[in-house]
Symmetry: C2
Subunit: 233 residues, 2 copies
Amino acid sequence: MSTAPYIVPIRRRAGASTRMQVYVALSEAIVRSELEPGRQLSENELASQLGVSRTPVREALARLREDRLVEVVPQIGTFVSRISDEAVGDAQFIREALECAAVRRAAELATEDDVRILEENLEAQQRAVDAVDDEAINALDNAFHQTLCELSRHPMVWAISQRAKGHLNRVRRLSLLRPEYLGGMLDEHRSILTAVERHDPDAAELALRYHLRMVLSELPAIRATHPDYFEEA
Amino acid sequence: MSTAPYIVPIRRRAGASTRMQVYVALSEAIVRSELEPGRQLSENELASQLGVSRTPVREALARLREDRLVEVVPQIGTFVSRISDEAVGDAQFIREALECAAVRRAAELATEDDVRILEENLEAQQRAVDAVDDEAINALDNAFHQTLCELSRHPMVWAISQRAKGHLNRVRRLSLLRPEYLGGMLDEHRSILTAVERHDPDAAELALRYHLRMVLSELPAIRATHPDYFEEA
DNA sequence: GGGGAAATACTTGCATACAAGCATCCATGT
DNA sequence: ACATGGATGCTTGTATGCAAGTATTTCCCC
Protein backbone atom coordinates (compact mmCIF):
# COMPACT_ATOMS: atom_id res chain seq x y z
CA MET A 1 0.00 0.00 0.00
CA SER A 2 2.20 2.76 1.24
CA THR A 3 5.19 2.43 -1.03
CA ALA A 4 8.26 4.12 0.38
CA PRO A 5 10.46 5.42 -2.38
CA TYR A 6 12.74 7.92 -0.68
CA ILE A 7 14.03 6.26 2.44
CA VAL A 8 17.09 6.03 3.50
CA PRO A 9 19.21 3.15 4.72
CA ILE A 10 21.22 4.58 7.61
CA ARG A 11 24.64 3.27 8.37
CA ARG A 12 25.33 3.00 12.03
CA ARG A 13 28.11 5.23 13.15
CA ALA A 14 29.91 4.83 16.41
CA GLY A 15 29.35 7.63 18.89
CA ALA A 16 25.76 8.31 17.90
CA SER A 17 22.88 6.22 19.09
CA THR A 18 20.95 4.66 16.28
CA ARG A 19 17.64 6.02 17.55
CA MET A 20 19.03 9.52 17.18
CA GLN A 21 20.22 8.76 13.65
CA VAL A 22 16.77 7.44 12.84
CA TYR A 23 15.19 10.54 14.33
CA VAL A 24 17.38 12.87 12.31
CA ALA A 25 16.83 10.93 9.11
CA LEU A 26 13.06 10.87 9.49
CA SER A 27 12.88 14.45 10.68
CA GLU A 28 14.79 15.71 7.67
CA ALA A 29 12.76 13.57 5.32
CA ILE A 30 9.56 15.01 6.72
CA VAL A 31 10.73 18.61 6.75
CA ARG A 32 11.86 18.22 3.15
CA SER A 33 8.45 16.79 2.35
CA GLU A 34 10.10 13.69 0.99
CA LEU A 35 7.75 11.87 3.32
CA GLU A 36 4.61 13.63 2.23
CA PRO A 37 2.11 14.97 4.77
CA GLY A 38 -0.69 12.47 5.31
CA ARG A 39 1.37 9.49 4.39
CA GLN A 40 1.16 6.43 6.60
CA LEU A 41 4.33 5.15 8.18
CA SER A 42 4.81 1.62 9.46
CA GLU A 43 7.25 0.89 12.23
CA ASN A 44 8.01 -2.47 10.66
CA GLU A 45 8.47 -0.99 7.20
CA LEU A 46 10.73 1.81 8.40
CA ALA A 47 12.73 -0.62 10.50
CA SER A 48 13.43 -2.95 7.60
CA GLN A 49 14.21 -0.11 5.23
CA LEU A 50 16.55 1.57 7.68
CA GLY A 51 18.16 -1.74 8.54
CA VAL A 52 17.41 -1.60 12.26
CA SER A 53 14.82 -3.10 14.55
CA ARG A 54 11.53 -1.59 15.61
CA THR A 55 12.82 -0.32 18.95
CA PRO A 56 14.92 2.65 17.78
CA VAL A 57 12.34 3.43 15.10
CA ARG A 58 9.67 3.50 17.72
CA GLU A 59 11.67 5.79 19.99
CA ALA A 60 12.37 8.12 17.07
CA LEU A 61 8.67 8.23 16.21
CA ALA A 62 7.86 9.08 19.81
CA ARG A 63 10.17 12.07 19.56
CA LEU A 64 8.68 13.09 16.23
CA ARG A 65 5.24 12.93 17.77
CA GLU A 66 6.34 15.42 20.40
CA ASP A 67 7.45 17.66 17.56
CA ARG A 68 3.98 17.18 16.08
CA LEU A 69 5.58 15.94 12.88
CA VAL A 70 3.75 12.61 13.09
CA GLU A 71 0.51 11.48 14.64
CA VAL A 72 0.34 8.06 16.26
CA VAL A 73 -3.07 6.44 16.52
CA PRO A 74 -2.94 3.28 18.66
CA GLN A 75 -3.79 0.08 16.85
CA ILE A 76 -4.34 2.09 13.65
CA GLY A 77 -1.14 3.59 12.40
CA THR A 78 1.40 6.37 12.35
CA PHE A 79 0.96 9.23 9.90
CA VAL A 80 3.01 12.18 8.77
CA SER A 81 1.13 15.21 10.06
CA ARG A 82 -0.49 17.46 7.55
CA ILE A 83 0.43 21.11 7.90
CA SER A 84 -2.26 22.85 9.90
CA ASP A 85 -2.86 26.54 10.42
CA GLU A 86 -3.12 25.94 14.13
CA ALA A 87 0.20 24.13 14.39
CA VAL A 88 1.91 26.69 12.18
CA GLY A 89 0.46 29.51 14.29
CA ASP A 90 1.64 27.88 17.50
CA ALA A 91 5.09 27.32 16.08
CA GLN A 92 5.27 30.88 14.83
CA PHE A 93 4.23 32.27 18.20
CA ILE A 94 6.78 30.15 20.05
CA ARG A 95 9.54 30.91 17.61
CA GLU A 96 8.89 34.63 17.78
CA ALA A 97 8.82 34.60 21.57
CA LEU A 98 12.03 32.60 21.91
CA GLU A 99 14.13 34.04 19.12
CA CYS A 100 13.09 37.62 19.78
CA ALA A 101 13.99 37.27 23.43
CA ALA A 102 17.30 35.74 22.39
CA VAL A 103 18.12 38.43 19.85
CA ARG A 104 17.55 41.10 22.49
CA ARG A 105 20.22 39.46 24.63
CA ALA A 106 22.36 38.98 21.55
CA ALA A 107 22.22 42.70 20.81
CA GLU A 108 23.37 43.39 24.35
CA LEU A 109 26.14 40.81 24.42
CA ALA A 110 27.51 40.57 20.89
CA THR A 111 31.22 41.24 20.49
CA GLU A 112 32.99 42.46 17.36
CA ASP A 113 34.05 38.90 16.67
CA ASP A 114 30.46 37.71 16.86
CA VAL A 115 29.37 40.39 14.42
CA ARG A 116 32.20 39.51 12.06
CA ILE A 117 31.15 35.86 11.99
CA LEU A 118 27.61 36.88 11.15
CA GLU A 119 28.88 39.23 8.45
CA GLU A 120 30.76 36.37 6.85
CA ASN A 121 27.63 34.25 6.97
CA LEU A 122 25.70 36.97 5.18
CA GLU A 123 28.35 37.21 2.48
CA ALA A 124 28.12 33.47 2.01
CA GLN A 125 24.35 33.79 1.80
CA GLN A 126 24.76 36.34 -0.97
CA ARG A 127 26.98 33.94 -2.90
CA ALA A 128 24.57 31.08 -2.36
CA VAL A 129 21.67 33.18 -3.63
CA ASP A 130 23.67 34.20 -6.70
CA ALA A 131 24.50 30.56 -7.33
CA VAL A 132 20.90 29.52 -6.73
CA ASP A 133 22.14 26.84 -4.33
CA ASP A 134 19.07 25.93 -2.32
CA GLU A 135 20.87 23.58 0.01
CA ALA A 136 23.47 26.18 0.91
CA ILE A 137 20.85 28.89 1.33
CA ASN A 138 18.93 26.76 3.76
CA ALA A 139 21.99 25.75 5.73
CA LEU A 140 23.28 29.32 5.99
CA ASP A 141 19.89 30.68 6.94
CA ASN A 142 19.68 28.11 9.70
CA ALA A 143 23.19 28.89 10.87
CA PHE A 144 22.42 32.62 10.96
CA HIS A 145 19.45 32.17 13.22
CA GLN A 146 21.20 29.59 15.36
CA THR A 147 24.18 31.87 15.87
CA LEU A 148 21.91 34.71 16.89
CA CYS A 149 20.21 32.43 19.43
CA GLU A 150 23.48 31.22 20.84
CA LEU A 151 24.71 34.77 21.38
CA SER A 152 22.06 34.97 24.09
CA ARG A 153 24.26 32.57 26.08
CA HIS A 154 21.29 30.20 26.22
CA PRO A 155 22.01 27.66 23.50
CA MET A 156 19.10 25.62 24.76
CA VAL A 157 16.81 28.23 23.25
CA TRP A 158 17.78 27.22 19.76
CA ALA A 159 17.20 23.56 20.51
CA ILE A 160 13.73 24.21 21.91
CA SER A 161 12.82 26.58 19.12
CA GLN A 162 14.07 24.16 16.51
CA ARG A 163 11.92 21.35 17.86
CA ALA A 164 8.85 23.46 18.49
CA LYS A 165 8.67 24.70 14.95
CA GLY A 166 8.49 21.46 13.01
CA HIS A 167 5.51 22.54 10.98
CA LEU A 168 7.05 25.93 10.38
CA ASN A 169 10.22 24.37 9.06
CA ARG A 170 8.26 22.57 6.40
CA VAL A 171 6.69 25.84 5.34
CA ARG A 172 10.02 27.60 5.43
CA ARG A 173 11.57 24.85 3.40
CA LEU A 174 8.98 25.31 0.71
CA SER A 175 9.33 29.09 0.90
CA LEU A 176 13.03 29.04 0.22
CA LEU A 177 12.38 27.42 -3.10
CA ARG A 178 10.47 30.50 -4.24
CA PRO A 179 13.14 32.73 -5.80
CA GLU A 180 11.22 35.97 -5.46
CA TYR A 181 11.64 35.73 -1.70
CA LEU A 182 15.40 35.42 -1.55
CA GLY A 183 16.33 39.06 -2.04
CA GLY A 184 14.01 40.19 0.71
CA MET A 185 15.41 37.58 3.04
CA LEU A 186 18.93 38.89 2.63
CA ASP A 187 17.88 42.48 3.29
CA GLU A 188 16.04 41.41 6.41
CA HIS A 189 19.04 39.50 7.69
CA ARG A 190 21.18 42.58 7.16
CA SER A 191 18.76 44.72 9.12
CA ILE A 192 18.90 42.34 12.05
CA LEU A 193 22.67 42.22 12.04
CA THR A 194 22.93 46.00 11.83
CA ALA A 195 20.75 46.38 14.91
CA VAL A 196 22.78 43.77 16.78
CA GLU A 197 25.97 45.54 15.81
CA ARG A 198 24.56 48.80 17.17
CA HIS A 199 23.62 47.03 20.42
CA ASP A 200 20.02 48.09 19.92
CA PRO A 201 17.75 45.37 21.36
CA ASP A 202 14.52 47.07 20.37
CA ALA A 203 15.56 47.47 16.76
CA ALA A 204 16.93 43.94 16.65
CA GLU A 205 13.72 42.47 17.99
CA LEU A 206 11.64 44.53 15.58
CA ALA A 207 13.73 43.51 12.58
CA LEU A 208 13.72 39.85 13.55
CA ARG A 209 9.98 39.83 14.21
CA TYR A 210 9.34 41.36 10.79
CA HIS A 211 11.65 38.83 9.18
CA LEU A 212 9.98 35.88 10.90
CA ARG A 213 6.55 37.08 9.82
CA MET A 214 7.66 37.37 6.22
CA VAL A 215 8.27 33.64 6.06
CA LEU A 216 4.70 33.18 7.16
CA SER A 217 3.41 35.51 4.47
CA GLU A 218 4.38 32.94 1.88
CA LEU A 219 1.98 30.46 3.39
CA PRO A 220 -1.08 31.11 1.21
CA ALA A 221 0.96 30.73 -1.95
CA ILE A 222 2.45 27.50 -0.70
CA ARG A 223 -0.93 26.22 0.32
CA ALA A 224 -2.21 26.93 -3.18
CA THR A 225 0.71 25.02 -4.68
CA HIS A 226 0.40 21.98 -2.41
CA PRO A 227 -3.18 21.83 -1.17
CA ASP A 228 -2.83 18.14 -0.31
CA TYR A 229 -0.06 18.94 2.17
CA PHE A 230 -2.48 20.87 4.37
CA GLU A 231 -5.15 19.99 6.86
CA GLU A 232 -8.68 20.90 5.83
CA ALA A 233 -9.37 24.20 7.54
CA MET B 1 22.64 -0.04 46.68
CA SER B 2 20.11 2.50 45.56
CA THR B 3 17.21 1.68 47.82
CA ALA B 4 13.93 3.02 46.50
CA PRO B 5 11.61 3.94 49.33
CA TYR B 6 9.09 6.29 47.78
CA ILE B 7 7.90 4.70 44.61
CA VAL B 8 4.84 4.17 43.59
CA PRO B 9 3.07 1.14 42.15
CA ILE B 10 0.92 2.46 39.32
CA ARG B 11 -2.32 0.78 38.45
CA ARG B 12 -3.00 0.65 34.79
CA ARG B 13 -6.02 2.60 33.80
CA ALA B 14 -7.77 2.18 30.52
CA GLY B 15 -7.61 5.18 28.25
CA ALA B 16 -4.12 6.21 29.26
CA SER B 17 -1.00 4.52 27.95
CA THR B 18 1.10 3.05 30.70
CA ARG B 19 4.21 4.86 29.47
CA MET B 20 2.44 8.16 30.03
CA GLN B 21 1.39 7.10 33.51
CA VAL B 22 4.97 6.13 34.24
CA TYR B 23 6.18 9.46 32.90
CA VAL B 24 3.76 11.44 35.05
CA ALA B 25 4.55 9.41 38.14
CA LEU B 26 8.28 9.78 37.75
CA SER B 27 8.07 13.42 36.73
CA GLU B 28 6.05 14.32 39.80
CA ALA B 29 8.31 12.29 42.06
CA ILE B 30 11.35 14.13 40.73
CA VAL B 31 9.79 17.60 40.87
CA ARG B 32 8.74 16.92 44.43
CA SER B 33 12.28 15.81 45.18
CA GLU B 34 10.96 12.49 46.40
CA LEU B 35 13.47 11.06 44.00
CA GLU B 36 16.44 13.08 45.15
CA PRO B 37 18.79 14.80 42.69
CA GLY B 38 21.83 12.66 42.05
CA ARG B 39 20.07 9.43 42.81
CA GLN B 40 20.59 6.52 40.45
CA LEU B 41 17.58 4.99 38.78
CA SER B 42 17.49 1.52 37.32
CA GLU B 43 15.15 0.63 34.50
CA ASN B 44 14.76 -2.86 35.91
CA GLU B 45 14.17 -1.64 39.43
CA LEU B 46 11.61 0.95 38.38
CA ALA B 47 9.88 -1.57 36.15
CA SER B 48 9.46 -4.12 38.91
CA GLN B 49 8.38 -1.50 41.44
CA LEU B 50 5.86 0.02 39.07
CA GLY B 51 4.63 -3.39 38.04
CA VAL B 52 5.35 -2.99 34.33
CA SER B 53 8.09 -4.05 31.97
CA ARG B 54 11.18 -2.13 30.98
CA THR B 55 9.74 -0.82 27.73
CA PRO B 56 7.31 1.80 29.05
CA VAL B 57 9.79 2.74 31.77
CA ARG B 58 12.44 3.23 29.15
CA GLU B 59 10.19 5.43 27.02
CA ALA B 60 9.23 7.51 30.03
CA LEU B 61 12.89 7.98 30.92
CA ALA B 62 13.60 9.10 27.36
CA ARG B 63 10.99 11.82 27.77
CA LEU B 64 12.36 12.81 31.14
CA ARG B 65 15.78 13.10 29.60
CA GLU B 66 14.42 15.59 27.10
CA ASP B 67 13.08 17.54 30.05
CA ARG B 68 16.60 17.37 31.51
CA LEU B 69 15.16 15.81 34.65
CA VAL B 70 17.31 12.71 34.26
CA GLU B 71 20.67 12.02 32.67
CA VAL B 72 21.19 8.73 30.89
CA VAL B 73 24.75 7.52 30.56
CA PRO B 74 24.97 4.50 28.27
CA GLN B 75 26.19 1.32 29.93
CA ILE B 76 26.52 3.20 33.24
CA GLY B 77 23.16 4.24 34.54
CA THR B 78 20.35 6.74 34.70
CA PHE B 79 20.49 9.49 37.30
CA VAL B 80 18.13 12.15 38.57
CA SER B 81 19.69 15.41 37.40
CA ARG B 82 21.07 17.69 40.02
CA ILE B 83 19.79 21.24 39.84
CA SER B 84 22.31 23.32 37.93
CA ASP B 85 22.54 27.09 37.61
CA GLU B 86 22.85 26.70 33.86
CA ALA B 87 19.72 24.59 33.51
CA VAL B 88 17.76 26.86 35.84
CA GLY B 89 18.92 29.91 33.89
CA ASP B 90 17.92 28.32 30.60
CA ALA B 91 14.54 27.37 31.97
CA GLN B 92 14.00 30.82 33.40
CA PHE B 93 14.90 32.48 30.10
CA ILE B 94 12.58 30.22 28.14
CA ARG B 95 9.75 30.58 30.62
CA GLU B 96 10.03 34.35 30.63
CA ALA B 97 10.10 34.52 26.87
CA LEU B 98 7.10 32.24 26.39
CA GLU B 99 4.87 33.31 29.25
CA CYS B 100 5.54 37.01 28.78
CA ALA B 101 4.69 36.76 25.11
CA ALA B 102 1.55 34.86 26.06
CA VAL B 103 0.46 37.32 28.73
CA ARG B 104 0.76 40.18 26.25
CA ARG B 105 -1.72 38.39 24.03
CA ALA B 106 -3.81 37.52 27.05
CA ALA B 107 -4.04 41.20 27.99
CA GLU B 108 -5.25 41.97 24.49
CA LEU B 109 -7.76 39.13 24.25
CA ALA B 110 -9.10 38.58 27.78
CA THR B 111 -12.85 38.85 28.20
CA GLU B 112 -14.71 39.71 31.37
CA ASP B 113 -15.42 36.02 31.88
CA ASP B 114 -11.75 35.23 31.64
CA VAL B 115 -10.94 37.86 34.23
CA ARG B 116 -13.64 36.57 36.51
CA ILE B 117 -12.24 33.06 36.41
CA LEU B 118 -8.81 34.37 37.31
CA GLU B 119 -10.31 36.44 40.13
CA GLU B 120 -11.89 33.32 41.57
CA ASN B 121 -8.57 31.55 41.34
CA LEU B 122 -6.91 34.36 43.29
CA GLU B 123 -9.56 34.18 45.99
CA ALA B 124 -8.96 30.45 46.25
CA GLN B 125 -5.25 31.15 46.50
CA GLN B 126 -5.92 33.49 49.41
CA ARG B 127 -7.89 30.80 51.16
CA ALA B 128 -5.18 28.22 50.50
CA VAL B 129 -2.52 30.52 51.89
CA ASP B 130 -4.61 31.16 55.00
CA ALA B 131 -5.09 27.44 55.43
CA VAL B 132 -1.37 26.80 54.78
CA ASP B 133 -2.35 24.15 52.26
CA ASP B 134 0.79 23.65 50.21
CA GLU B 135 -0.77 21.23 47.77
CA ALA B 136 -3.62 23.61 47.00
CA ILE B 137 -1.28 26.60 46.72
CA ASN B 138 0.85 24.79 44.21
CA ALA B 139 -2.10 23.59 42.17
CA LEU B 140 -3.75 27.01 42.09
CA ASP B 141 -0.51 28.76 41.21
CA ASN B 142 -0.03 26.34 38.34
CA ALA B 143 -3.60 26.85 37.19
CA PHE B 144 -3.22 30.63 37.31
CA HIS B 145 -0.22 30.61 35.01
CA GLN B 146 -1.71 27.99 32.76
CA THR B 147 -4.91 29.97 32.35
CA LEU B 148 -2.93 33.08 31.48
CA CYS B 149 -1.02 31.13 28.84
CA GLU B 150 -4.14 29.67 27.36
CA LEU B 151 -5.72 33.09 27.01
CA SER B 152 -3.12 33.72 24.32
CA ARG B 153 -5.06 31.20 22.22
CA HIS B 154 -1.88 29.14 21.96
CA PRO B 155 -2.34 26.40 24.54
CA MET B 156 0.76 24.75 23.16
CA VAL B 157 2.78 27.50 24.82
CA TRP B 158 1.93 26.20 28.25
CA ALA B 159 2.86 22.66 27.32
CA ILE B 160 6.24 23.72 25.96
CA SER B 161 6.92 26.01 28.88
CA GLN B 162 5.93 23.34 31.34
CA ARG B 163 8.34 20.83 29.88
CA ALA B 164 11.18 23.27 29.37
CA LYS B 165 11.24 24.32 32.99
CA GLY B 166 11.75 21.02 34.72
CA HIS B 167 14.61 22.28 36.85
CA LEU B 168 12.73 25.48 37.62
CA ASN B 169 9.74 23.53 38.83
CA ARG B 170 11.85 21.81 41.41
CA VAL B 171 13.11 25.16 42.65
CA ARG B 172 9.61 26.58 42.62
CA ARG B 173 8.35 23.58 44.49
CA LEU B 174 10.88 24.17 47.23
CA SER B 175 10.15 27.89 47.22
CA LEU B 176 6.48 27.43 47.87
CA LEU B 177 7.27 25.73 51.13
CA ARG B 178 8.88 28.92 52.42
CA PRO B 179 6.00 30.77 54.07
CA GLU B 180 7.59 34.22 53.92
CA TYR B 181 7.22 34.17 50.15
CA LEU B 182 3.51 33.48 49.98
CA GLY B 183 2.21 36.98 50.64
CA GLY B 184 4.41 38.48 47.95
CA MET B 185 3.26 35.86 45.50
CA LEU B 186 -0.35 36.79 45.97
CA ASP B 187 0.35 40.50 45.49
CA GLU B 188 2.27 39.78 42.31
CA HIS B 189 -0.52 37.65 40.93
CA ARG B 190 -2.96 40.46 41.62
CA SER B 191 -0.77 42.96 39.78
CA ILE B 192 -0.67 40.72 36.72
CA LEU B 193 -4.40 40.22 36.72
CA THR B 194 -5.05 43.93 37.14
CA ALA B 195 -2.92 44.69 34.08
CA VAL B 196 -4.69 42.00 32.07
CA GLU B 197 -8.03 43.39 33.13
CA ARG B 198 -6.95 46.84 31.93
CA HIS B 199 -5.85 45.34 28.60
CA ASP B 200 -2.38 46.74 29.15
CA PRO B 201 0.13 44.32 27.59
CA ASP B 202 3.20 46.29 28.67
CA ALA B 203 2.14 46.38 32.30
CA ALA B 204 1.11 42.74 32.23
CA GLU B 205 4.46 41.67 30.82
CA LEU B 206 6.33 43.78 33.34
CA ALA B 207 4.36 42.42 36.27
CA LEU B 208 4.73 38.82 35.12
CA ARG B 209 8.45 39.21 34.49
CA TYR B 210 8.93 40.62 37.97
CA HIS B 211 6.89 37.77 39.43
CA LEU B 212 8.83 35.12 37.58
CA ARG B 213 12.14 36.59 38.73
CA MET B 214 11.01 36.56 42.34
CA VAL B 215 10.80 32.79 42.28
CA LEU B 216 14.38 32.76 41.17
CA SER B 217 15.43 35.05 43.99
CA GLU B 218 14.72 32.27 46.43
CA LEU B 219 17.35 30.12 44.80
CA PRO B 220 20.34 30.95 47.01
CA ALA B 221 18.36 30.22 50.15
CA ILE B 222 17.19 26.92 48.72
CA ARG B 223 20.69 26.05 47.68
CA ALA B 224 21.89 26.72 51.20
CA THR B 225 19.18 24.45 52.58
CA HIS B 226 19.78 21.57 50.17
CA PRO B 227 23.36 21.85 48.92
CA ASP B 228 23.38 18.20 47.89
CA TYR B 229 20.53 18.84 45.45
CA PHE B 230 22.73 21.13 43.36
CA GLU B 231 25.46 20.64 40.83
CA GLU B 232 28.87 21.86 41.91
CA ALA B 233 29.20 25.31 40.40
C1' DG C 1 49.12 -7.58 54.41
C1' DG C 2 49.06 -5.55 49.82
C1' DG C 3 48.49 -5.43 44.87
C1' DG C 4 46.75 -7.01 40.56
C1' DA C 5 43.86 -9.49 37.50
C1' DA C 6 39.99 -12.05 36.42
C1' DA C 7 35.29 -13.04 37.30
C1' DT C 8 30.87 -11.19 38.41
C1' DA C 9 26.99 -8.37 38.78
C1' DC C 10 25.19 -4.69 37.29
C1' DT C 11 24.00 -1.01 33.56
C1' DT C 12 21.69 0.59 29.03
C1' DG C 13 20.97 -0.25 23.76
C1' DC C 14 18.99 -3.12 20.51
C1' DA C 15 16.35 -7.08 18.70
C1' DT C 16 12.56 -10.02 18.86
C1' DA C 17 8.40 -12.38 20.51
C1' DC C 18 3.75 -11.95 22.19
C1' DA C 19 -0.77 -9.59 23.00
C1' DA C 20 -4.74 -6.81 21.79
C1' DG C 21 -7.40 -4.24 18.64
C1' DC C 22 -9.11 -2.47 14.24
C1' DA C 23 -10.15 -2.69 9.16
C1' DT C 24 -10.79 -4.99 5.19
C1' DC C 25 -12.18 -8.55 2.24
C1' DC C 26 -14.37 -12.60 1.11
C1' DA C 27 -17.58 -16.07 1.69
C1' DT C 28 -22.03 -17.45 3.00
C1' DG C 29 -26.83 -17.20 3.84
C1' DT C 30 -31.13 -14.84 2.96
C1' DA D 1 -28.44 -8.73 -5.27
C1' DC D 2 -27.56 -7.56 -0.69
C1' DA D 3 -26.46 -7.88 3.99
C1' DT D 4 -23.94 -10.07 7.53
C1' DG D 5 -20.41 -12.62 9.85
C1' DG D 6 -15.93 -14.48 10.18
C1' DA D 7 -11.18 -15.05 8.91
C1' DT D 8 -7.05 -12.60 7.86
C1' DG D 9 -3.63 -9.24 7.75
C1' DC D 10 -2.33 -5.24 9.33
C1' DT D 11 -1.37 -1.79 13.20
C1' DT D 12 0.77 -0.25 17.74
C1' DG D 13 1.68 -1.55 22.84
C1' DT D 14 4.11 -4.35 25.90
C1' DA D 15 7.23 -7.96 27.54
C1' DT D 16 11.37 -10.38 27.24
C1' DG D 17 15.80 -11.99 25.49
C1' DC D 18 20.47 -10.94 23.88
C1' DA D 19 24.66 -8.12 23.31
C1' DA D 20 28.17 -4.94 24.72
C1' DG D 21 30.36 -2.37 28.13
C1' DT D 22 31.67 -0.69 32.90
C1' DA D 23 32.43 -0.77 37.87
C1' DT D 24 33.05 -3.49 41.63
C1' DT D 25 34.44 -7.24 44.08
C1' DT D 26 36.78 -11.10 45.12
C1' DC D 27 40.32 -14.29 44.87
C1' DC D 28 44.94 -15.52 44.05
C1' DC D 29 49.71 -14.57 44.08
C1' DC D 30 53.57 -12.10 45.76
